[in-house]
Symmetry: C2
Subunit: 352 residues, 2 copies
DNA sequence: TAAATTTATGTGTGCGCACACAGAGAAATT
DNA sequence: AATTTCTCTGTGTGCGCACACATAAATTTA
């Protein structure tokens, strides 16, 4: 049948040493003569030794601790999703002696992020995952992780930093391209489309700027249709009435407006403040399968939602740390772009 | 910190018995007095015992064998995908002492399916996964599995049979609906669309019939657009010239033909036999990210591919058996519909 | 040269569990 | 009453590994 798996004992016999010596070689604990070391390495190679994960984890008999630092989901429904993914991941890795602990910070306060981060660093876990929403603070935290030997994974917001083991998230630029394609689809002749940013500190939201770049590039490269891109930034998006007024101004100024691209998960705010007939005349593209967006999709107020797989972002982040810390896999992909799913009424059910 | 996990020894102490007795209760091996049994059950409940998977699998010291019975991928490139998924799954579960072995059968020969199935039954594995492409043979195999206590998972083709642990695949009906939506999108006025079946025994391909039903239902329910659905069946789809002739006949007979829906993964056969300008004028929707389809998508000969997540079908099938046989999870979902991804040039990269 | 230190190696124990086995006692059979 | 069978229970061993510890040999220091 299947060739019995090679054990440490087999290696020891082959190399003419004891299991203890093989163990020291495997874990690079030192105190092995160069001669013995070489014989062990040869035997490992020759017999194709693979560590028995079960026995290894059992004997190790210590929990691996992972901390997830995430925005409080009460401040923005979007964050329920990565959090759900983290919880699924936690459940999955729990049998293998891995504990996942979540800490929350206020989405809109850098100081709180720093405070929570410091609390984590006081009792350093083996792994940490977080969305580096605040560039400076994120880089600082990654640096701290490097110093303390904490394996760090970032998700949701991409910052290029070698100190992190992997980034897991969407390709913001390309999601802008895709949104443009969806608005452009079936259109011909002259028209306008609106890029709507509903965000507090837009200048700092680099992923929104990336989406905009992709969005504009698409139209620039597809000369076939003559589309004008308008942009509207609304920082006080919670104020329904104010938002409505600004939108109506735009609709009035640009009668040829055929579509709106809401650059984040807040398309429902747009849909909430305009009447259905107006919405139906516009093609609307938004992001993410949060409950409020789904209702508007079902009601056909929103035409497309681009799913950034935010649940999977949380899940994959935990699993990446598991693969690094527990499976000890080498050469994990440092960049994991998740699919940009096009969601319409007809296929939404399968993404829930 | 975290409350130390409860061990069998703890339960034994609490119930005033030995670990052996607890073990007998846990595994329902019998030879336990009703009195002791009850005390153990109470202790388990009260202390919230959870089996330590690592130790359990280690001590069990037997491999769990899973067999995948799949169409030979050389007969149809589609099947490379579920196979790739099965291999990924195999790699994942391998550390936990689970062996996955794959056997292939000829996609077009029921007798070969039966032959391979019989070979498997001679040395029954703990788990079996297969696509029940042949209804009768599939049901027979499921019945055999039930008799022999083999956990069976079906994928790709749905047959309702309680003998199987789970079905993993797409919702064929809804994929027809979605295809219709994609063809209908942006269309107005009178037009024709073609439903193209490229399959050997169409009458037996129930999933194709389901797709057709969904496809037609969509148009029936969306009276807004006045669309006529044509249907063309081609069994000798390998004959490029013959296929081309039949398609040109259709194009000639129906000048208002605006779109084609190829009901399986063979849209590339259509795209192969018509010139690009003709293809560009048509909107074409097909299934699955097989290499040949991808090329035509990139070349904009095909507009949409509906991804049935065939890789994930293989992967999830293996993982479902892992959850059943190894994790011993109860109440696994008996029906796992995977998403129907809408794939266009702009987001194809993320599905590969 | 003896003692202290460092390097090198083997042995032993326990992680939590599954399962074989040995008994003790009760019940059934001779 | 003696034997056999059956029910019930506890103990012991091993799964493969990590790590502590003991010990021997080599090296340095006094």
């Amino acid at each position: 049948m299947n060739p019995k798996r090679v054990r440490i004992k087999d290696i020891a016999d082959k190399a003419g040493v004891s299991t203890g010596t093989v163990d020291r070689v495997l874990h690079e604990r030192g105190y092995v003569s160069e001669d013995a070391r070489q014989r062990v390495l040869d035997a490992l190679e020759e017999m194709g030794y693979e560590r028995n994960l079960l026995a290894s984890a059992l004997a190790y008999n210590k929990a691996i601790r992972i901390v997830a630092l995430m925005p409080d989901k009460s401040t923005d429904p979007y964050w329920e999703q990565p959090f759900a993914g983290v919880e699924q991941g936690a459940q999955f890795v729990q049998p293998y002696g891995i504990e996942v602990e979540t800490r929350f910070f206020n989405l809109f306060e850098r100081a709180d992020f720093r405070r929570q981060a410091n609390a984590i660093l006081e009792n350093p876990p083996a792994g940490l995952l977080f969305p580096p929403l605040f560039l400076q603070e994120g880089q600082w935290l990654l640096e701290q992780c490097r110093e303390k030997g904490i394996a760090a994974v970032t998700f949701n917001t991409q910052i290029d930093d070698a100190a992190c083991l992997a980034y897991i998230g969407q390709d913001s630029y390309q999601s802008g391209v895709l949104a443009a394609r969806l608005l452009n689809f079936g259109l011909s002749g002259k028209a306008s489309v609106l890029l709507l940013n509903l965000e507090k500190e837009i200048a700092n939201a680099r992923h929104l700027l990336e989406k905009e770049r992709g969005f504009r590039d698409y139209f620039a490269q597809h000369q076939g249709s003559d589309i004008q891109v308008l942009r509207l930034d609304v920082e006080q998006f919670e104020d329904k009435e104010a938002l409505r007024r600004q939108l109506e101004t735009q609709l009035h100024k640009h009668p040829d407006l055929t579509g709106v691209f809401v650059s984040n998960s807040r398309a429902y705010r747009l849909a909430d403040c305009l009447p259905s007939p107006t919405l139906r005349k516009l093609r609307i593209v938004g992001f993410d399968l949060v409950a409020a967006n789904l209702q508007h999709l079902q009601a056909e107020n929103i035409d497309f939602l681009i799913n950034q797989n935010s649940v999977e972002q949380g899940y994959n982040s935990v699993l990446t740390l598991y693969r690094h810390l527990f499976l000890k896999e080498k050469n994990l992909p440092a960049l994991q772009y998740l699919p940009l799913d096009i969601v319409v009424v007809e296929n939404v059910a399968y993404y829930l």
